[in-house]
Structures are given as structure tokens and as C-alpha cells.
């Protein structure tokens, strides 16, 4: 199981590189093969405009990785910063910051991201902004909880009594102890951001035609499901394999780094 998940992950990473090296044309239209099932020439078949599904899947996975990496990076930075401040200072700072996160958490799932993406308008940039605006909250919560307990550890108090400033305490004495839990969290969040990106694209809020994204492809695929079931099965299968591989990778990372489950 362990190696299968690494293999799938490696496969998709290579796929990203391959898509660039082979210079496939995901937007090339061939009217002869519209909605054709997989053949020797088009391994994954063709979509409703006669475009090669394989080429579009490869170009879509690149978008998935890009969005996941950017969003995870930005949300983690913001969330960790907020969480450190709230956990370290406590009192009023903590109360206000946590009240704000409570308000964000009152919007279930990706509802708020849908709302932000809707008003910002469709497009990849706006999709990333929408996911960043809503994604930092869980990191803030996690970091705050951990900081709250680490704050009173002896090594932090020792550093404080030796005159270390707040930035030094936060970044040299508290943050390193959070590293492993954050790495595990970030791995899971790669997968959840990919799902969120696909969901928003599925609703037509992400990357716009003719560029490929797995969510947008699934939207088209569902429309033509009755005549071309291969389309929806292949694209969905690709998405599932990647998500599962990342989540399993997260599990192994969690065990390896000995991080206790946050729940």
C-alpha cells in the first residue's frame, strides 16, 4: 500500500513534467473523433470537441498541482502567523482572532470559497484568491492550540527570561516544534485544495475554456455521460487516484513523524 501510493504520486509528478516535455496540444480539435472511446491513437479517448483527453488530463494535473501548492503555501503562512500571535499573546488578541476564525468556520465546507469566487468572477487567479481567503483558518486554529501549550514549556520561558524577543521566541523556539504537525497538515491540505479547486471548476468558477482543469472536464463529462461514459470515468478516476495517493502519503508521513491526530 505504502509504495503504491508513492508510485501513483511519482507517476503524476512525472506526468506534469511529461506534459511539458512532449508539448502536447490539449486544445487541438479533431472533429473526426468527437466523444470517441479510448483507441490506440487517443489512449483516453476524445472529448466533446474531439480533443485528446489524455493531453487535457496532463495539462489539468499541472493546474491542480499549481493551485494546491500556491494555496497551501499562502494559507499556511497566514494561518501559522495568526495562530502564533493568538496562542502567544492570549487574552484579548487571542479572543478577537479566534472570534474571526469562528465566523469563517460558520460557513460550512467550501461554501465561502464558492461565494468569494462567485463575486470575484471566474478565472484561475480569482479561484486561488478565494481559496486563500478561506483556507488559512484551519492552520490558525491548529497553530494556536499548539502554541498555547508550547508557550509555557520551560525552554521557552528560559529563552524569555534570558531576554529573547518575541520574534525570536516565536520563530526559533516555538515554530520548529510545530514543524512536523504542520508538514502533515499541509500534505492533507494539498489533497483538499485539489478537491476544492475541482469543485469550483466543476461549478464553472475556476479556469476558463479552452484551458483544461479536472473539475471543468468533469463538468463537461457529466453532460455527455449518456453517450460517452469513458470521459467521466477516466477523468474522475485520475482525480481519485491522485487524491488517494496524497492522503495515504499524509498518513505515512504522520506515522513517520509521530504526529498525534489533531482530533
Amino acid at each position: 500500500m505504502k509504495y503504491t501510493s508513492y508510485l501513483i504520486l511519482a507517476f503524476w509528478l512525472i506526468a506534469v513534467l511529461l506534459g511539458n516535455v512532449l508539448q502536447l496540444n490539449p486544445n487541438a480539435i479533431d472533429l473526426e473523433v468527437i466523444l470517441q472511446a479510448p483507441t490506440a491513437q487517443h489512449w483516453f479517448g476524445a472529448d466533446d470537441l474531439g480533443r485528446d483527453i489524455l493531453a487535457r488530463v496532463l495539462s489539468g494535473v499541472e493546474v491542480s498541482f499549481l493551485v494546491a501548492l500556491i494555496v497551501t503555501g499562502v494559507t499556511m503562512t497566514i494561518g501559522v502567523f495568526v495562530g502564533l500571535l493568538a496562542g502567544f499573546y492570549g487574552g484579548r488578541v487571542d479572543a478577537v482572532l479566534m472570534q474571526i476564525t469562528d465566523i469563517f468556520l460558520a460557513f460550512p465546507g467550501i461554501l465561502l470559497a464558492i461565494a468569494f469566487a462567485a463575486v470575484l468572477g471566474p478565472g484561475l487567479g480569482n479561484l486561488i484568491v478565494a481559496l486563500c481567503l478561506t483556507g488559512w483558518v484551519s492552520y490558525a486554529r491548529l497553530t494556536r492550540g499548539q502554541t498555547l501549550s508550547l508557550r509555557h514549556r520551560q525552554h521557552v520561558q528560559a529563552a524569555e527570561s534570558l531576554g529573547a524577543g518575541v520574534p525570536r521566541l516565536l520563530f526559533r523556539h516555538i515554530l520548529p516544534l510545530l514543524a512536523s504537525i504542520l508538514v502533515v497538515e499541509a500534505t492533507y491540505s494539498l489533497a483538499s485544495v485539489m478537491i476544492a479547486e475541482a469543485s469550483l471548476s466543476f461549478l464553472g468558477l475556476g479556469i476558463q475554456a479552452p484551458d483544461a482543469s479536472w473539475g471543468a472536464m468533469l463538468r463537461d463529462a457529466v453532460r455527455y455521460m449518456l453517450i460517452a461514459p469513458h470521459y467521466v470515468l477516466i477523468v474522475g478516476g485520475c482525480l481519485m487516484s491522485l487524491i488517494l495517493a496524497i492522503n495515504l502519503g499524509g498518513d505515512y508521513l504522520r506515522d513517520a513523524l509521530d504526529v498525534r491526530k489533531p482530533d
Binding site: 472570534q99 460558520a106 460550512p108 463575486v119 461549478l203 464553472g204 449518456l226 461514459p229
Partner: protein, 304 residues
């Protein structure tokens, strides 16, 4: 004291939710009126909409009148159809609640028994299979599971309608799509929570008394194990509500979620705003209800 604290924070959260949904329309890049009516709209229509939405007022006044209108159940008007939004919600909301409740039941009906089964077979291959399957199911987004179920049960087997709300069985596929994710999480939670309880002393006592295994599991162990499950069900109601947005769209189920997506496509932002608000408020209230339910189920919590 605890309840007062809980209510204060509830009001702050509701206020924040109202503020955030109110501000949504101001996040529209450029002039929201332009975006909603299109560049070609004439001046009079624009000014009428601007005045109607109160966009010509200072922000604080706008928020004030937004809240005041809400008190009377006035959510504004749809730009597209000119109907009061509250009327749209009144039609759509019951459909969403019906869908969410049925998927909740499906999730519990599959998840809890499977979790008990896995816990009783802990360490055996049956446990392994159930755990792996539940991990996989919970990672399956609705826009993938939905079409697959539709393909199998509606297209290939022809047992159920593909989509829409015309027949009584139309609700089954969307409800199963939503319920599956929940059942996966419930399976894991029930398993973990039951396993923890099964090692407790009072379970050994119950067994030593000579009670049947069935009584021990169902009457003694499960009762204690159900507490964390209530919390999970409550929290998962949120993802269920958010999940309706995509599931309703796939299965053409006319609920609030689909209304939200339709309003986004038509750039009917007041409707978008109202849908987001309704879903978020439902979630907040469900969480509150879960909290109280938990207190009733666990006497220890009343004094905590």
C-alpha cells in the same frame, strides 16, 4: 454561565456571518451594477438597481438597512426574475432540508453498523477491508461519486431516475451520494470510539455478570460510544449542507444549493448572498442543536 457564554459567542458569530455575506457584494470588482446588468444596460435601469440595492448609501447605512430588512424576512429581490428572494427560498429550502436529512439517515444507517462490525472484528481482515473502504469513500468528492452512481443505477441498470424531482425515487441517488461520505466518517468514528469503550472496566463487569454479548455491546458499550458520534454528525451536517451545492447541481435537485449555482451563473448576486446566508445560518443552528443534544446525552457535560 456556560450557556450564556455560548449564546454570546453565538450572537457574535451570527453577526459576523451577516456582515461577511453583506460585504460579499462589495467584493465584486468594479461596479457591481455593471457586472450584474451588463455594459449595455441603460442609465435609468442602473440607477434604479443601485438605489434598490442601496449602493448609493454609505456602507454603514447599507448594512443597517440590510439587517432591518432581514428582521422582516426581506432578503431583497432577484435581479433576474424580480421576485422576492424569500419566496424562492421558501420553495427551495424544504427540498434541501429533505435531501440533507435523508442523506444523514443513510449515512448513519450505513456508518454506525459498519463501525460496530469493524470494532468487533478489530485486527481481523474484515476490519481492514471496512477501514480501507471507508477511507476511500470519504475521499470521494460528490462530483465523482454522483456521476458514477448515476451511470450505474440510472443509465446502465435503469432502476432509478437520472435526475430531476419528478418521481418519489428521484431523491435516492442524490441522498446516497451525500450520505456515503458521511457514512465513511461515521464508520471510522464508531469503530474508534467503540474500541476505546470496550476496554473499560464496566464492560468487563457487564460481561462478568453474564449478560449476553448483544446486550453488552448495544446497551452498555454503544451508549457511551455514541457521544462522540453525535458531535461528528453535527459537524458533518456542515459538509452535508455545503455538499448539497454540488450534488443538487449534478442531479438537478431544486434546492438552495442549485439556486446558489444558478444565481452565480446569472450574476444574480442578491440571490447568491441570500443562499450563502441561509446555508451558513442553518449550519450555525445545527451546531448549536448538536451542542445541546450532547449535553442531554451526557450528564457530565452539564456541569463542565
Amino acid at each position: 454561565m456556560n450557556i450564556i457564554k455560548r449564546l454570546t459567542s453565538l450572537f457574535t458569530v451570527i453577526f459576523g456571518v451577516l456582515l461577511l455575506t453583506f460585504l460579499l457584494i462589495h467584493l465584486v470588482p468594479g461596479d457591481p451594477v455593471d457586472v450584474m446588468l451588463g455594459e449595455s444596460a441603460n442609465m435609468a435601469d442602473r440607477e434604479a438597481l443601485r438605489a434598490d440595492l442601496g449602493l448609493d448609501q454609505p456602507l454603514v447605512n447599507q448594512f443597517g438597512s440590510y439587517l432591518a430588512k432581514l428582521m422582516y424576512g426581506d432578503l431583497g429581490q432577484s435581479i433576474h426574475t424580480q421576485t422576492p428572494i424569500i419566496d424562492l427560498i421558501k420553495v427551495r429550502y424544504p427540498a434541501t432540508v429533505k435531501l440533507a436529512l435523508l442523506s444523514l439517515l443513510i449515512g448513519i444507517a450505513i456508518g454506525v453498523p459498519l463501525g460496530i462490525f469493524a470494532a468487533l472484528k478489530a485486527g481481523h481482515w474484515q476490519d481492514f477491508v471496512v477501514t480501507i473502504v471507508s477511507v476511500r469513500l470519504s475521499a470521494m468528492p460528490a462530483f465523482w461519486l454522483g456521476p458514477v452512481l448515476m451511470l450505474i443505477f440510472a443509465v446502465w441498470l435503469g432502476w432509478l431516475p437520472v435526475s430531476g424531482m419528478d418521481s418519489g425515487t428521484s431523491i435516492i441517488l442524490p441522498a446516497v451520494t451525500l450520505g456515503f461520505g458521511l457514512s465513511a466518517i461515521l464508520t471510522r468514528m464508531t469503530r474508534t470510539s467503540l474500541l476505546e469503550v470496550l476496554n473499560d472496566d464496566y464492560i468487563r463487569t457487564a460481561r462478568a455478570k453474564g449478560l449476553s454479548e448483544q446486550t453488552v455491546i448495544l446497551r452498555h458499550a454503544l451508549r457511551a460510544a455514541l457521544l462522540p458520534i453525535i458531535t461528528i454528525v453535527g459537524l458533518q451536517m456542515g459538509s452535508l449542507l455545503a455538499g448539497t451545492v454540488i450534488t443538487e447541481t449534478i442531479f438537478s435537485w431544486d434546492g438552495v444549493g442549485r439556486l446558489l449555482v444558478e444565481s452565480i451563473e446569472k450574476r444574480d448576486y442578491p440571490v447568491t448572498q441570500a443562499c450563502v446566508l441561509i446555508i451558513a445560518l442553518s449550519y450555525v443552528l445545527v451546531n448549536l442543536a448538536t451542542d445541546f443534544l450532547y449535553r442531554i446525552a451526557d450528564p457530565r457535560m452539564r456541569y463542565a
